[in-house]
Assembly symmetry: D3
């Protein structure tokens, strides 16, 4: 069985992959038949594929997110390569198996979860410790598998966890430098800031924004999750309000969707650290497509800048 990255023109290959996009086309000519335009993906990469002779049943089951096994011939087409599918069969898999065909975070999930859990256990504030632990517990499976976005950055399996983990490490470094912050508040804010995404997005695999996600946004969704959890556990008062504030303010500016601006130091740091990690991920994404010494096209999400990849990186 070949990995997609290893496929070259004129090879006959067998493969297991996930269908990350699919559409049905009509052949030209007298007897128009349906065919399938596919993008097949495994963790090594992706390839365009055409299946010229699917049955009606094939067309029904080859949906986005289906894991398939098959064989075909690789040809060169325009400047890239394409697979002519010979045989294709949909496999019954669990979601966990399905995720193995998709890109994921570069760190082990257990390592990251341990960092999160240890941080929670070390909180001295019972209220913040209980609220954070209980929310992460309630949404553990989603928190561990969801991406942090559908594009731009952290748009891969475990992206939400990886983003949270990196931010937590940076926040700890900053807390060490200044020494006068409410660390429990800051770390609880980091861990919970994007939790609303488990309802804003439809799932870990081929995610899209839900209607609720579009109409309310992850900031307000996450806010009510914290408020309801605090009420349920019987916690009130300034600590809870500050945690709500951190989540509401974490986009830093009204025009980025925060209804209030950061008014305490921990909220300001949460916003700035979120920004650092998002931007590093966007730089890395842009660098992927650049050769050393090359300048990128303008990148909308980075204020329309061009980026430069140095010769030495």
């Amino acid at each position: 069985m070949e990995k997609i990255k290893e496929m070259k023109p004129d090879m006959s290959v067998t493969f297991e992959a996930i269908i990350s996009q699919v559409s049905i086309g009509k052949t030209n000519g007298k007897n128009k038949r349906n065919y399938l335009n596919l993008i097949l993906e495994d963790q090594s990469g992706e390839i365009d594929a055409k299946w010229w002779s699917p049955t009606d049943h094939d067309c029904q089951v080859c949906v986005q997110g289906a894991v398939v096994k098959g064989s075909g011939d690789v040809i060169s087409y325009n400047d890239s390569i394409q697979m002519k599918v010979a045989k294709l069969e949909v496999l019954e898999v669990t979601d966990e198996e399905r995720m193995k065909f998709l890109p994921s975070a570069p760190l082990d999930v257990e390592v990251m979860m341990k960092e999160i859990n240890d941080t929670i256990s070390n909180m001295q504030s019972k209220a913040l410790r209980d609220i954070t632990r209980s929310l992460i517990h309630d949404h553990r499976a989603s928190f561990m598998s969801y991406p942090a976005a559908t594009r731009n950055h952290h748009d891969f399996i475990n992206g939400l966890l990886y983003h949270t983990y990196c931010m937590l490490k940076i926040a700890k470094g900053i807390a060490d430098v200044y020494g006068n912050l409410n660390n429990d508040l800051l770390f609880a804010g980091v861990i919970l800031h994007d939790l609303g995404k488990v309802k804003e997005l439809s799932g870990a695999i081929t995610p899209h924004y839900t209607a609720e996600g579009n109409l309310l946004g992850h900031i307000s969704i996450g806010h009510t999750m914290i408020k309801e959890k605090a009420d349920q556990l019987g916690y009130h008062g300034e600590e809870v309000v500050l945690l709500e504030h951190l989540v509401l303010a974490h986009h830093g500016k009204n025009e980025f969707g925060s209804p209030v601006l950061p008014q305490v130091k921990e909220a300001e740091i949460l916003y700035l650290v979120d920004n650092i990690d998002a931007r590093m991920a966007m730089f890395d994404k842009a660098y992927e497509g650049l050769a050393p010494g090359e300048t990128s096209k303008r990148i909308f999400a980075l204020e329309n800048r061009t980026l430069y990849r140095p010769e030495s990186q």
Copy 2:
């Protein structure tokens, strides 16, 4: 007893009024004593006052919001008038009595509440009817007495109710013109849009922003009130999400503090109608200080415009 509006230089007067501002000063000269700078207010207007010989106890009890009875002499000072207090005594009053010394809405509270309640009773959606009725019931006293803001517009007793009432009337007119709106949703949104202000502000009398109000804002506070009420009553689904959306989106733009923009017609109308009523109130406030044919100074809250009061108005 004289109304403040009727006081003229060289009158000796008796009065009942509320202390709307107070500070303690020190007299010049050898034997420095405390004196009180006061702004006294009744429903007819307000007047600066100096009390040159209060006791220490007087200084303690003459706080902002106290209702007082007293006598004094009115003098002219610079271009305006001032009262030299002769005698002053703090009265024990209920909050209801206290409010009678403050400006309030130009309509009867019962008339306005009837409009609100009738609108709720006529809603065909059980979910929206129950949620709206229950929230207004829970916060009835505050909803009926609070201002809608601490300055700029509707900054008077019953201001929140009056603002809601006017908006509801306009929204009904608009609903009649188009005929294809979800009226229940629109009217529930109008009635609840500013309910979070009952927690954002400290009270009906001499209100200020609470810490919770500053840190979370009435939009997010109101949002969690609705979400928790819906969960408590067992309502879920699109209707609830849309009502949450209307409240979150009612400032219309991110830069005005809405985390999401209006995405359904009823949300857009709610925002626009809120805007109409706020602006009419700001115009009226600016006109108060203008003679017919006069142009105002620049008004920050109205995009730094000058306003003109026509000769005929």
Copy 3:
């Protein structure tokens, strides 16, 4: 004869329609001949059409806006349908007949004009009544047939009148709520605010912006129309200046092309009501293409928002 909306693949049809777009193409192959790409439209909808064998004369007369009668075969092509024209003939029609093939306002012209005229007749200010009546009289035919724009909203026959009518109804509702407005001024402003469009646009049918329209804009064109009419009728003074002001200020902000900002209440309301009606029309336009529960693409004219069409609408 078939309505366009009723045409289905594999039907042979006869039709009467207007050509709303047309371009000439060249066939492939050895003997390149001209063919016509057409969009045919009647009040029920529109359809792409190809005419493979027009004569040179056909190519000359099948211009945008021509009303045609013909027959053809409907085929399916890609995901939509297309007509293969068999026969086509241009009809001699009046402009009034031509408009019958184009979408128009959902209300009867006479009903709308009656509302306008009654409103004018009820004005107590002789100056405002005479100026408004005379201007509407001078431009009656255009005012009744023009669209209010070439795209985005009210871009259909009678669009200008329909937009004016809806605004007038809303303005009356608002005037009722507040009770202290100069209704004559407000209603005259509503009726005349977009009158400059009769010179800014080229006509009721397949309109485009005139050079004068681009160089001066309908706000300034309309302003001079009012000023010249007032001078001609011998009216001067504040009422006239205020009416000029309402028209100049009706876009509400400098960046939307108003040279002055609303400085009286009636000008502010005119701006806000214009906004309401424009936005409702843009929402309706966006909803047309959406299924219940679907979210739209980003809409540039609505601040790049996505809109949501609720399940229940």
Copy 4:
């Protein structure tokens, strides 16, 4: 008789001056009497003055803009000087005489008018020549005496003419460099661009904005003046529309109050040249108060910049 600039502490002086500001104060002490706070101005400068013993009649006639003759003693007060008025009498003067007490343009009016008139006479377009000549003729007295603004720049007698003259000279230099401009159009635009100010401002002496000026603005006022003049003289067509366009577009951006943006080269140059002359005047005004090598405070009208006056200037 002393010039104001020559007055020094401890001098007894006689003077003729204009009252550029005046307010009435009340003396302290038992027997409160009215006194006058004055700013007296002649072409050499201005001085604060107090008149401690005016009669009621004096208070009535000593209005802003009055020309007075008197005597007094100069004293030093805080860091500056002040005059203690001994005697003061209002003179009957013509407006022409009155203007002699106010700052005016540094060039002779006749020299400037000759440049304007010669430019008009040399226009090859009869339409532009007639319209421009007739409008300047109609408003000759105001055009020659009005300032171009009430503050910031060209806020002095003949300021409008001087501003127009300087712009005309620069525009001619630019026309020479490029050689492919419609010079008649450009020069007519320069001469008429601010003519609406003769109605926007109340007069040449101590001017303020009129109600019409605030409600319509000099751009729209000037626009209707041109349109009505063209109609009256029977000129229509592109040349007239372009001249209207130049006046409407001369602020260059919507946010500066132009309803349309420059769409032809001559309109763009008019805007840019207007900008140059305004900014040079603002720099000169700021330099007046600066020593060589000194940096100014932030200047709001110049984008909040600080300016630097070089050692050598």
Copy 5:
């Protein structure tokens, strides 16, 4: 030999031209071969060309910027014309010869350089004269041949010199009007303001931005060139700092890339004159594609305006 502008369908032509764009395509059909998509340019214009049968060596040498000689047949294709290349051969040429195939400034280089040099010689400040002369001397060849930009305006051979020359003429006209400027400073600023472009761009022919150009920008590059030259020649003090300031501030606003705003009059004029010349060039560029009486599409670099080309120009 035919000029490109003279080529018409059905002609067989010979030509000399420069390759301004080139890409390699693959033919359809069984035996896929490489072919060349070319844009050929001479000073008269440009034409699309296809070469269906190049050798591998031809594909290697037909690079962007190559000067070629050849023959072919002109055909009409869609709405424009295309050349089918029969023979093509790359010529060995000097860069000077190569530039003759590209559009260049409409004025003679020697005439423009004389104006620059005379201006330098007439400077009374030894420091400014020496610095300016030495920098122009060091970069003489580039200064004379480079464009001023890669698109939008002055994107042709000698564009930098032509832009500098036109600005110098306008600046002199302005200096004449005001009479109180530091002319040496202003003219030195004009001459040197864009000199950093000789490092920001890669060359005179088919220029692109260098990595250094993207990372530092011509403003900062030019600034260090002046500072290092002044240090090398031993000049210090205010004159040098002001010249540095003029170059740093010449984009006029932070958002256009100037790190400081103009703080002296000469800096302000430099910015405004740069703006005038850039905008005139952009108008001319837009007018090229317009017929008299036609309106352009929206032009991004001119604030998204449409431009109008008058009937008479």
Copy 6:
């Protein structure tokens, strides 16, 4: 001798302090004499002082920044205290001694310099190591003593060093998290990013902006310092250009005065870390004046936000 913080009303005190502000006043009454308004400061705090009987010589030597020794009586005045100076004498001190009377960074200079120097020594790039070391060596005294600004944040002795030190610590934490950065470049950028401030500001004691500082800004000044140092040491190429880029881009946005935007990851991090440290310092400054649970006034430098100091901090 008393520390200023310990002074209370009715004490007679002796003191040593620095004059941080001074102005000369005139006494009222017949025989006007000069007196001195002083603000005296030591590291414990500051106090208003009046010296009613200075000699002319005293007035000359009591300048801003002078260190004085004296005695006086402390009185209460309005709501604060004031010293009535009895005797005052200017001391001859070195600048080092003078700084002891001013607030300074909360960390030891040697500790901070060791961190900087160790970081430089550990750089693997010879070019970056040599350039950074040599520049810090050249400006060692200023780099160690200057503030980082005249107000808002780090406006104290060693402020520049302290700001650089904190940023370096945070940058190291971030570098650890990502692991794929050019650490030498990032750390060199941090150390040198504000070095231009040693020329932008006038000195460590009572600093103001120099003319050069205003006209060029510390970004461009620092840029030329690096470029000239690199040229002097013979280093060229990408590493140097990237270091220049980091300094030019460190304000992150054009509108904050960076002529280019960050285009490599290290530049982005430098900007974000600069931002973190500046904002933490502004929060701390704002918190100083707030009691726990109190909300601040709007703070212009923090986007006009109000800040909240939690009960527990």
